[in-house]
């Protein structure tokens, strides 16, 4: 009888009338309203009743068992009534109407509770308030779970903006209502209820139900289009502010680690502000390891409040590039960018983050979303009394890695052994560590350099509220992280967020505005201290006898004094401004026009000042050692997206359609990059006019993207869902002939549990849906201007005192859009009234026509050019997500969510691979991140390692034999895990809440730190103890050498002798919080007070039995690992 349009932006009135002749008109409209409410809130409850003179009690019991509703019947004697009814597949409302109205009974449905009373009671009450005369309404609002007062819930008159909030005893009074008003009762985290007053002055106790069912959580698809998981045809996942607030993270993406199936998130370093790599459902491009810093091949699209947001380090995005391909930007501490713009968004300002994965979910973002979409929504104000809330916490951050360097004794023994192997004698020139420095006293450089616990402080204040059609929210935040290095430096951030919303009284016009400003200032030491920690000889004297810094540069490798880096200063100032507006106007009840617009700018200013004391005064002249680097980078995005939404009922189903366009303009600019040097004094480093010489660069690139798209969604009979998209995308990254291309997707879903033939399914099986989507998505992920032939200048391009121009790239005006074909099949199941939800998704993404920097033989003059490659990369995977409310009662609740992903990746086809430049990297049928290694077979008579001569040509060659015919590298597993996932638990006992989450990854292969060490053990450099130990265990001590280049060791590094399987779990988060009882907070004049303790990255456990020979599998071989964070905090609101 009704259609269900589950896109709240469309206010669609029920089109059909139901007529019950024996009832009074008001009772009728009341009933009609409740029927709609009921069906809208609880779709798909199909009731079949067949009784001849059945007792009402029996009939209600049957309805209860079919629908899950409970009844409150008060003093009505159910045995008195006998019912005749024959209905099939009707709604609860219809069934009840058929049962009750003939007997003078009526009912109201409040959530899943149905109250039955005698019809006369109310019709008399109704007469109290004649229509048109204002009166005062009373009522009580309780939490349905535990029947406790729902303090602060808002009670509003629909369409009028008169409202009030619920007092501490649960009651409210609302003056100025009239008989025909409808009140809306809402509270965050609870289902809204609309109650027509029908003249009542007391609506009694209203029970609000918690939004317990994840199926009905609103999912934002795109452009404000919403659906619920129940009706979605695509794959998406959501993290809410509550999940985020439990985790003491600086970058909100870290809060997603392990929480979502198919999502891999790694931080490049544990230092605050460092870059984060995010990968949704695997690597689709072959060029994942591209050294092009301006290109991102596998990252998702970030949308903040509807506006595209640059997720990559801004200093790299805008970096200027020399003709020889060098990018000019300051890397920052650990060489890891130190400039993730996402870190400028205060996690506390975020309402929710959604991850859109498949073609159906990402279709509306088109090519930009080819690698998935991450939607970030910031918090908005709510109608009601203003709420001021304050929170602050402080804690410590500790480097938590087990990788140790050799002790002094072991180091000296290693050196002596290496000299013996080389048949060389240690001298004061080649072995100061054996001849000049202390033989007995060593230092623990790890402890000295990165052993200090960093302190962190965070504070947030926000005010929000609203009324009369408008809402607002204002918040500010500050946080400070000191350094794990032995210095007084820190990384600070602060921000400001304002949002405001307006709805016109007739609800036709809606407007929202959001302004967010964030700033991050870091002056962390710009040095790879972890690298020093394991490479500095333990007896390296840091100081000369006169107290000055000691250096060693008489032999190779030279040793820099790490403490000198502390004399350099580094500063990174990041500023971001994010603004967005959304206007919508309902032209008619079925047609709505809206426009989304926004502008954001992210700016980074970095400088490094190196005084003469920061480098070895012996080896360089003082003036030229004084250098100062100043660089500014910024990225600007403008987005305008007008669209029309149309919704109607059609053939008994609900149809929504959308027609929209997108215009996006992005400009990345590096206004200047200055390296000034030859200052005559350390004091002048900040005064560029005192520089004796300087080198200048700047960079600029622009990008435009336009698109026209349409989307149709159709839901028939509450069980058949169709979703279709079509779009025409245009991108400035292509040459004139290939600017535009067409793409599209189709999604289908079938809620089979709503089928009549399954009406008799067991009660515990509450929901079942099968869905599938298929789409073709384009990708324009190449550098701007790559189709143009051009020349550019470079600082090193000098001859005879003049500056020259060099060719910057080879023109290829013909390359086209890369295409991804995405297929997904999924099953969503709900059990025990949806307390247990399970999702199984299988996907297959095939990306072909790959758009790559195609390597050229350098005889062409270039090492690569941009071209389409006829290669097909396939990512498939199975993702399983379970959410369960294990226990739920008034005092205690326990819920669990778990996700597991089984990814698989392979290169399906690559025409001409063997003759292409990728012959040394990829093999058809193998994963694109495979390790091809020599097979270690033991040692020869000299104690040197031997390897399997796979191609039997008598020599060991480090190329892949499969492709080239000559070569001994063989497949040795892949760099991505077999399985990864996460597990989160929330336990609540009264006011106490404990959360913990862990994640794990299993089966990836990695050479650990061995692969990235530049020299064999034995040179004038300390070594990771685990590597030396492992080498001794397999008996290759003959590789220990003092030579800075050992071809034997180079081969060993490319062998499987030390290959590791990375299988580890990490307890990512533990959070314990306690809400003070209301009695106490009331006395303190607060509405809530929470104290909490949280821990992040508490410990890592190896699942493979062997400890990882490296600093941390997540952050790689040289960076500071994810820090262990422990904070305590307080949060209160008025």
């Amino acid at each position: 009888m009704t259609s269900h349009i589950h896109r709240p932006i469309l206010e669609i009135k029920n089109g059909k009338k139901i007529f019950y002749p024996c009832f009074k008109l008001i009772a009728m409209s009341l009933l009609l309203f409740f029927l709609q409410q009921t069906v809208n809130a609880q779709p798909g409850k199909s009731i079949s009743l067949h009784y001849k003179h059945g007792r009402l009690a029996e009939v209600l019991k049957s309805i209860k068992s079919q629908s899950g509703y409970v009844f409150i019947t008060g003093d009505i004697d159910l045995k008195k009534y006998y019912i005749d009814i024959q209905v099939d597949r009707v709604s609860v409302g219809q069934a009840l109407a058929s049962c009750l109205y003939d007997h003078g009974l009526e009912f109201t449905i409040v959530d899943k509770t149905i109250v039955i009373r005698k019809a006369n009671d109310k019709s008399s009450k109704k007469l109290e308030n004649a229509s048109g005369i204002a009166y005062e309404l009373r009522g009580v609002v309780h939490n349905k779970e535990d029947d406790s007062p729902l303090v602060g819930a808002s009670v509003m008159i629909k369409g009028k903006y008169n409202g009030t909030s619920v007092k501490s005893d649960g009651s409210f009074t609302l003056p100025g209502v009239v008989a025909s008003d409808v009140v809306v009762i809402s509270f965050i985290g609870y289902e809204n209820l609309e109650i027509p007053l029908a003249g009542r002055s007391n609506i009694g106790i209203i029970m609000l139900a918690e939004k317990a069912n994840k199926l009905d959580e609103v999912q934002v698809l795109a452009y404000g289009i919403t659906t619920s998981n129940r009706y979605a045809t695509g794959s998406s996942a959501k993290i809410t502010s509550e999940d985020i607030s439990k985790q003491p993270v600086g970058n909100v993406m870290q809060a997603l680690q392990g929480k979502v199936a198919g999502l891999i998130i790694n931080q490049s370093s544990g230092l605050p502000g460092s870059d984060i790599t995010v990968e949704i459902r695997g690597q689709n491009s072959l060029d994942a390891s591209s050294s092009n810093t301006n290109v991102l091949k596998n990252g998702p699209l970030y949308i903040v409040d509807g506006i595209a947001f640059t997720g990559e380090a801004i200093n790299q995005q805008a970096a200027s590039k020399s003709a020889s391909g060098t990018y000019f930007y300051i890397q920052g501490p650990n060489g890891s960018g130190n400039g993730s713009p996402l870190a400028t968004i205060n996690p506390n300002d975020i309402e929710s983050i959604e991850i859109l994965k498949d073609a159906s979910a990402t279709a509306l973002y088109g090519s930009r979303g080819a690698n998935g979409v991450i939607l970030i929504k910031t918090k908005k104000g709510r109608i009601g009394k203003p709420v001021l809330s304050v929170s602050f916490n402080s804690g410590i951050n500790v480097v938590n890695s087990s990788m140790e360097a050799l002790s002094l004794d072991d180091y000296l023994a290693l050196r002596t052994e290496a000299f013996a192997n080389d048949n060389k004698t240690p001298t004061t020139t080649n072995a100061p560590d054996l001849t000049l420095w202390s033989q007995t006293e060593g230092q623990d450089f790890k402890k000295l350099l990165i052993g200090s616990p960093a302190k962190s402080y965070t504070a947030n204040v926000s005010v929000s509220g609203g009324g009369k059609g408008s809402t607002f929210m204002l918040s500010g935040n500050y946080s400070r992280n000191s350094s794990v290095f032995d210095d007084n430096r820190s990384s600070d951030s602060y921000g400001f967020h304002f949002s405001s919303g307006y709805t016109s009284p007739d609800e036709k016009l809606k407007a929202t505005l959001s302004i967010m400003m964030g700033a991050g200032i870091s002056n962390l030491a710009n040095a790879s201290f972890y690298q020093y920690a394991y490479s500095l000889p333990p007896n390296f004297p840091l100081y000369n006898s006169d107290g000055s810094l000691y250096w060693w540069s008489k032999s190779i490798p030279v040793i820099s004094n790490p403490l000198a880096a502390l004399n350099s200063s580094y500063q990174n100032n990041m500023n971001s401004l994010n603004t967005s507006i959304n206007l919508s106007y309902a032209i008619s009840p079925k047609l709505k026009f809206s426009i989304n617009g926004g502008y954001n700018k992210i700016q980074s200013n970095q400088n490094v000042l190196n005084p003469s004391t920061s480098s070895n005064s012996e080896s360089t002249n003082l003036a030229s050692s004084r250098t100062a680097i100043y660089v500014e980078s910024n990225a600007k995005n403008v987005v305008v997206e007008p669209q029309l939404n149309y919704g109607t009922t059609l053939w008994g189903g609900g149809l929504t359609a959308l027609l929209g366009t997108t215009y996006q303009e992005t400009v990345n600019e590096q206004p200047f990059y200055i390296i000034a040097s030859d200052f005559s004094s350390d004091l002048y480093l900040s005064d560029l006019s005192m520089a004796g010489s300087y080198v200048l660069h700047n960079g600029y690139s622009a990008y435009k993207y336009v698109s026209v798209f349409g989307n149709v969604n159709y839901i028939l009979k509450d069980r058949y869902i169709f979703n279709g998209n079509f779009r025409r995308d245009g991108s400035s990254k292509f040459g004139p002939n290939n600017l535009y291309a067409n793409f599209g997707s189709v999604g289908l879903a079938w809620i089979f549990t709503n089928e009549p033939f399954l009406a008799g399914k067991p009660e515990w099986f509450s929901f079942g849906k099968i869905r599938s989507s298929y789409g073709v998505v384009g990708s324009d992920n190449v550098q701007n201007y790559a189709y143009l032939s051009s020349y550019s200048g470079a600082s090193s391009s000098y001859y005879s005192g003049s500056t020259g121009l060099s060719p910057s790239r080879v023109a290829n005006p013909d390359y086209k859009w890369a295409t991804s074909k995405k297929l997904e099949v999924a099953v969503d199941l709900g059990f025990f009234k949806d307390r247990l939800l399970a999702n199984f998704s299988w996907f297959r993404n095939r990306t072909g026509n790959q758009l790559l920097e195609y390597p050229l033989a350098t005889q062409t003059g270039f090492s690569s050019y941009t071209a389409n490659l006829d290669a097909l990369v396939q990512n498939t995977g199975l993702e399983i997500t379970l959410t369960s409310t294990n226990i739920k009662n008034i005092n205690f609740s326990w819920s669990t969510s778990a996700n597991v992903s089984f990814p698989q990746n392979k290169l399906v086809a690559f025409s001409g691979l063997k003759s292409s430049s990728y012959a040394s990297t990829y093999v058809i049928g193998r994963p694109t991140t495979s390790l091809y290694l020599l097979h270690y077979t033991g040692t020869d008579e000299n104690g040197l390692p031997t390897y399997q001569d796979v191609d039997k040509d008598g020599t060991i060659t480090t190329s892949i034999g499969d492709n080239t015919g000559v070569g001994d590298l063989v497949y040795n597993g892949k760099a991505y895990p077999d399985v990864y996932g996460g597990l989160s638990n929330t336990l609540k006992y009264k006011n106490l809440q404990l959360d913990f989450s862990a994640r794990f990854t299993f089966g990836a292969r990695d050479l650990g730190i061995l692969a990235s060490l530049s020299n064999a053990p034995g040179t004038l450099s300390n070594y990771p103890a685990a590597v030396v130990k492992a080498m001794r265990e397999i008996g290759v001590e003959k590789l220990f050498t003092t030579s800075t280049y050992s071809s034997d060791f180079r081969l060993f590094q490319q062998s499987d002798a030390m290959l590791q399987k990375i299988s580890y779990g990490r307890l990512t988060n533990v959070s314990l919080s306690y809400d003070l009882p209301q009695k106490l907070t009331k006395r303190m004049k607060l509405s809530s007070l929470r104290v909490y303790a949280q821990g992040q990255n508490l410990f890592k456990f190896t699942l493979s039995g062997k400890t990882y020979a490296g600093i941390d599998p997540e952050t790689g071989t040289t960076a500071v690992p994810p820090l262990m964070v422990i904070v305590g905090g307080l949060q209160f609101s008025f």
Partner: protein, 470 residues
């Protein structure tokens, strides 16, 4: 039933506005972006003489980028018997032991940067020729200079790697598919380019502000003489060397007392030299960088072989003027000191000399000796010996073989560390096996006379074949 009022005039109006905006988005203008501000489109570069001259500077700059021209002297001196490889640093260790592998980036760097320079020369030759905005005289000049640079680059490539792909266009697809051309074809291209350059380049250096840092006609002639010698066309080698030697208005040997000034920028001995001047100072020449710098810190990484040091005859002024020494751990080490300008922060006082007059005398001596004109050959040798303060060789009763041996010795001493001369001499005279086999008995292999084609190169252009022994 609620009436659908979608088709009202108001809606039609709004929808048509909206549709109009769709049509607009279909317009390519919406996708127009500003051109890359920090780059110049190739078509614009060759639109005027001024712009094109920046591309010319870019070509020279590419030629002297750290890996190509500047490393020849050091890399090849290690491959030969000039520099001591004992403490050399990677990637040069393998040059020293003649055990380069195809994956060493040292040899690969030569390959890559010469071809990069050749591309730029090709780009100038093609784009200047077809330019409508450039004046004809400038076009001719630029094309001639580009041809000289292209010839010079191929000369080093063919001497290091043997047969190499002959890339003479900017077409990337064509070039990527090229196989190795025969040595004969490569030399034919070199000669053709040089003849063209010789005809069109200016006779003197006035066009170049009197700096000898760009090729004039004599530079092309001098390189032709060298190419003819290397290809055993002795008559032509003698002719061309004579032409240079006879250009007395420009070139003359410095006296013994001035021998330390041979490498100064305005030296009358210099025919074509590389000028590493930047806007604020200059890059260091390879010798400054590798020898003088190392010697400052008593580093034994960049020192001369005792074989070379012992080859100097007593009283040779060149030993005093062009080498230096230091003592470390009771041993005396010698380093190359032809260049002494270590102050990178001021304008250069020296240019890195690629072609100079003394070599032309020795080219002519060898060409004459090969044509059995021994008296004239000895006369040329003696010009060089006398200038160095050594006694003249007696030409009476000298055999051709002895004369050639004397020339080899004189070339070794006069041209040590200069642009691979010794390494190429040993190879082209088939003396490498004898000399280097004796010096490096453990590691020397006959196939080491050619450097390996970089592995990556063969992977990227599979039609390329590898040299023997790799």
């Amino acid at each position: 039933m609620e009436k659908c009022n979608f088709i009202s005039y108001k809606n039609i109006y709004i929808c048509s506005l909206f549709a109009a905006s769709f049509l607009l988005t279909g317009c390519d203008k919406l996708l127009e972006i500003d051109s890359p501000k920090t780059e110049v489109l190739t078509s614009d570069v060759f639109s005027s003489d001024e712009n094109a001259s920046a591309a010319l500077v870019g070509m020279y700059s590419s030629m002297v980028s750290s890996a190509s021209m500047l490393n020849i002297g050091y890399g090849c001196s290690l491959s030969a018997d000039e520099s001591d490889a004992t403490d050399a640093s990677y990637p040069f260790t393998d040059f020293g032991t003649n055990t380069l592998t195809s994956s060493d980036y040292g040899a690969a760097d030569f390959w890559t940067s010469f071809y990069k320079t050749i591309y730029q020369a090709n780009s100038i030759i093609e784009n200047a020729s077809s330019s409508l905005g450039m004046s004809d005289s400038v076009k001719t000049q630029f094309v001639a200079q580009a041809k000289f640079v292209r010839a010079l680059s191929f000369f080093y490539l063919v001497n290091m790697f043997g047969p190499v792909p002959l890339t003479v266009t900017t077409d990337v697809t064509t070039n990527n598919a090229l196989a190795r051309a025969s040595t004969v074809d490569v030399y034919a291209q070199i000669v053709s380019d040089l003849k063209d350059a010789e005809a069109k380049l200016p006779a003197d250096y006035t066009n170049y502000s009197s700096k000898r840092d760009k090729p004039n006609a004599s530079a092309a002639t001098a390189l032709l003489a060298k190419v003819y010698l290397y290809t055993e066309d002795y008559a032509n080698a003698e002719t061309k060397a004579t032409e240079v030697i006879n250009t007395a208005s420009l070139y003359s040997l410095l006296s013994k007392s001035n021998i330390a000034n041979v490498f100064l920028k305005d030296s009358k001995e210099s025919i074509f030299a590389i000028n590493l001047q930047t806007s604020t100072g200059h890059w260091l020449t390879y010798e400054d960088y590798y020898y003088y710098y190392g010697s400052k810190y008593n580093s034994t990484t960049y020192v001369l072989t005792s074989s070379l040091v012992n080859a100097f005859e007593a009283g040779d002024a060149r030993k005093t003027a062009w080498t230096g020494s230091f003592v470390d751990s009771d041993s005396t080490y010698y380093y190359g000191a032809k260049y002494k300008d270590y102050d990178a922060n001021s304008a250069p006082t020296e240019y890195s000399v690629v072609l100079r007059l003394a070599e032309q005398y020795l080219i002519r001596a060898e060409a004459r000796a090969q044509q059995n004109n021994l008296t004239s050959a000895v006369a040329d040798i003696n010009v060089i010996r006398t200038r160095a303060g050594l006694t003249a060789i007696d030409d009476a009763n000298i055999t051709q073989a002895q004369c050639l041996t004397d020339i080899e010795q004189e070339r070794r001493i006069e041209l040590f560390l200069e642009y691979g001369n010794r390494w190429f001499d040993l190879k082209r005279t088939n003396r490498a096996d004898a000399v280097l086999g004796a010096l490096k008995p453990d590691t020397w292999k006959s196939t080491a006379v050619l450097y390996p084609i970089p592995l990556l190169e063969i992977e990227n252009a599979s039609q390329l074949t590898q040299n023997d022994g790799y």
